[in-house]
Amino acid sequence: MPDAWQPKIDPYLDSELSADEMRGMDAHLRECPSCASDALRRLQLKRATRLAGQRYAPSAQFRSRIEKQVAKKSHAVRRWAWVPALVAPVLLLAAVVTVGRWYESYRSQQVLAELADLHVADLASPTPVDVVSSDRHTVKPWFQGKLPFTFDLPELTGTGYTLVGGRVAYLQHEPGAHLLFDVRAHHISVFIFRDTPDIERGFPARDSRGRVLSFNVESWTHGGLRYFAFSDANPEAVEGLCSLLKQAGA
């Protein structure tokens, strides 16, 4: 059934609501399965549009033509006009570097969008975790035999963070751990996957931080594993949990 929040789902996914409204919508989505599944459907369409829309790339010749057109008028003197023979290999190199960077960025966006879907889908699910326990000694062994790797979890008593539980998640056909934590009224998803060449290409940096669809995201590697933390909580709250995980050897 439509409700007062329904018209705000698109602006929410487009990050166009005020901070108060964003928080209100976060809370509403946790309570309303209808709006949560609608938000997920819209998010999937938005993501598919973004991927499909990045379709056309200019040719190297056209790029060169425009660069010359702009440079010719922008600069009265072209000091290096006497070395056209050098321009072609430089442009070729620039094109290779540009394509490489674009591909890295494309890969990382694809991975983050997939994880954002998992995070939102999990929160919308009536059973967000398959192993329900705040005890790390229960959650960690539950993954034995389900994942081709293991990981360490920190003691959270007195930190303000609570372990809710976990489940197995898949990223690009690779199984991994999806752990759910609570901090105040917010959920934080932590995903752990093997740092495969595919994932590594999208995230050449060891550590990174940023925002995806208004979620705060932090990512790091350790011991051949790649960690991602996703949440609508503030960056400090996400960073705090990540620090605890890193101290635990993650």
Binding site: K8, D10, D14, R41, A52, Q54, Y56, F62, V70, W102
Partner: protein, 180 residues
Amino acid sequence: MSAHDPSAGFEELAMPLFDSLYNFAHWLTQNRDEAEDLVQETYAKALKGFGTFQPGTNFRAWIYRILRNTFLTSRTGLAASRTVPLEPEDDQEQTLAVSTETPESILLREAGQQQVQAALERVPVIYREVLLLCDVEEMSYQEIADTLAVPIGTVMSRLYRARKALRAALAGKMREARHA
């Protein structure tokens, strides 16, 4: 920006947008040669008019507006605007009602990227452009409003209709694929 050299700084602002401007132009024109002509003309006009650009304002919205206006006055743009069934754009209209169409989750699970692209091609250009600016270029509603020179309410209602049109086009593509 120095007063005696209005073109200083243009290259630094304009060239990083080259790839995305080209992608946008190609989506509008649906033709490589026309897209190249459109981008080239956009850069020429932007460079010529750069003296009128106010530093501190949104350069991206400014150059996208030039590209779009240039497209609208081209032969393809005029033809596209003549053939688009324009619905009334009432800013006060409650446009974001619940969709009763097939859920995207089913469609998108079945559809590949090529089918989404083919569906996007079918969306009328007036809606396709707003989808591209919002979902691909990740512009804010304000930036899109500046680019299209329309109020934010119109941006929101066009986005609603654009997504509805995309869902319908995608459903059509999937039906065709099933019957092929």
